[in-house]
Amino acid sequence: MTEHTVTAYDQELTAVAGRIAEMGGLAETLITDSVTALMTQDLELAHRSIAQDARLDELLLDIEMRNVNIIARRQPMGQDLREIMATGRIANDLERVGDLAKNVAKRVIAMDSGVKSKTLAIGLEHMVELTQAQLKAVLDAYTRRNAEEARLVRERDSEVDAIYTSLFRELLTYMMEDPRHITQCAHLLFCAKNIERIGDHATNIAENVYYMVTGDRLTDERPKVDETGAEGGLDR
């Protein structure tokens, strides 16, 4: 992209982009750490993950303040305006991803342990891997300003939803088999829901990246595979 005649304007936009990248990295780490804490029953790591989330909140406020400043002082137009609007929303999504990951860590503490049965964890682990890949792909699409990559991330979200649906059924089966599993499984169900929501935020980010790059919105409805609730998921 050609540079602005006013160099400081470029620096201000770059500073915002840098902070989005930092938020993205932090959110990824937070997911990894809280899920590891869950799988390895590592309470100390769970506590550390919870503490990390504060930095994400801080960065969100910082990005919002910078964007307000740019709007007030530079009156951004065209692609710059779209970038400002998109980064504001992406920062919001990343902050929410942090909250959801933090919630998984909090559950580790609430359960006073992580997952005790490996069988229960396998489905969840797979779902986390896929969601992590989604988040990474969309952050790459943002950095590279690649609309097509963003569109693909959005399409793949149905895979996360599908795993969530099957995991939901699996956990229900375990609970029915042995009532002693209910507490564990209920917590895991919430964890799975959190991970699924993280996938949704990756989708939101993808839509904003697409808009930022092209100026158009992705409008075609995606098929909903989440059948655990009445209409496309319980708590929408």
Binding site: T2, P76, M77, G78, Q79, L81, R82, G215, R217, T219
Partner: protein, 265 residues
């Protein structure tokens, strides 16, 4: 994701008031306007933007044949106003300019009273027979220009005694007095402070109910604020014209994009 609820539907182009086809302008050997084709909608504000020397003012001045007054200037192609060729030999440029009024960059009131500034046009065009009619035109023009309350007690005072912003609105009132259909504005606010600019912009927004307005401006923010359609000129070419909303959020041409975002080298 469905369409955002806040999405504003693109402004529909109104009926064509002015239609220009294959317009070329030469200053001596210099080819200043290159094959411009444009439709200007009636009762709407069309803004011309572009870097200095891009031809936007030159093209604006073609619309009421102001370029006729420059000896070395030659205009080719067709410009129709309501379907009539304004460069037809039977068209009287003076009559044309009554229909297509103009407001300039620097307020240029006549060295006469406020009253006479407004009354001048109606008098020379023979629009009135009685003093009462003239009084009526002066009052209504000043009202439409949002200046009446500020000057009604000093109509005999000199027009040049007003502030810059008031002088510019006086010039707009003077243009309105001869009941034009189109008002051309060549950077009408570049000599005004922000408050006076806001008043003129508010006036432009009101005037578009009854007039077709074409405004040349160096301020992209002003174009974004006042116009429904925006045309971007560059090096004598009309690069892009579209709904103002689209031009400033998602322009098609790379040159437009670079210009509106401040990336022009």
């Amino acid at each position: 994701m469905t369409q955002m609820p806040g999405t504003i539907k693109a402004a529909k182009m109104t009926d064509t008031k002015i239609s220009a086809r294959n317009v070329q302008v030469y200053y001596g050997d210099t080819h200043a306007i290159k094959d411009v084709n444009i439709e200007i909608g009636s009762r709407a504000v069309t803004a011309f933007i572009g870097p200095s020397g891009c031809g936007k003012s030159t093209f604006l001045r073609c619309l009421n044949r102001m370029n006729d007054t420059i000896d070395i200037c030659r205009v080719e192609g067709n410009i129709d106003l309501d379907g009539e060729d304004i460069y037809d030999s039977r068209v009287d440029p003076v009559q044309l300019r009554a229909k297509v009024g103009m407001v300039f960059q620097k307020p240029n009131p006549f060295p006469k009273s406020i009253y006479d500034n407004i009354a001048y046009g109606p008098r020379i065009h023979g629009l009135v027979r009685k003093k009462a009619e003239l009084d009526e035109i002066v009052a209504s023009s000043l009202q439409k220009a949002g200046l009446w309350n500020e000057v009604k007690d000093r109509l005999d005072g000199p027009g040049t005694g007003l502030s810059g912003g008031q002088q510019q609105r006086l010039c707009i009132a003077r243009a309105i007095a001869v009941s034009p259909e189109v008002i051309l504005m060549d950077e009408p606010c570049s000599a005004l402070d922000p408050i006076a600019t806001a008043k003129v912009e508010e006036l432009i927004d009101e005037l578009r109910e009854n007039f077709t307005i074409v405004i040349v401006t160096h301020s992209m923010q002003q174009a974004a604020r006042v116009s429904q359609r925006t045309a971007f000129f560059h090096m004598g070419n009309l690069v892009e014209i579209g709904d103002t909303q689209d031009i400033f959020t998602n322009p098609v041409d790379k040159r437009t994009q670079d210009y509106i975002t401040g990336r022009f080298g």
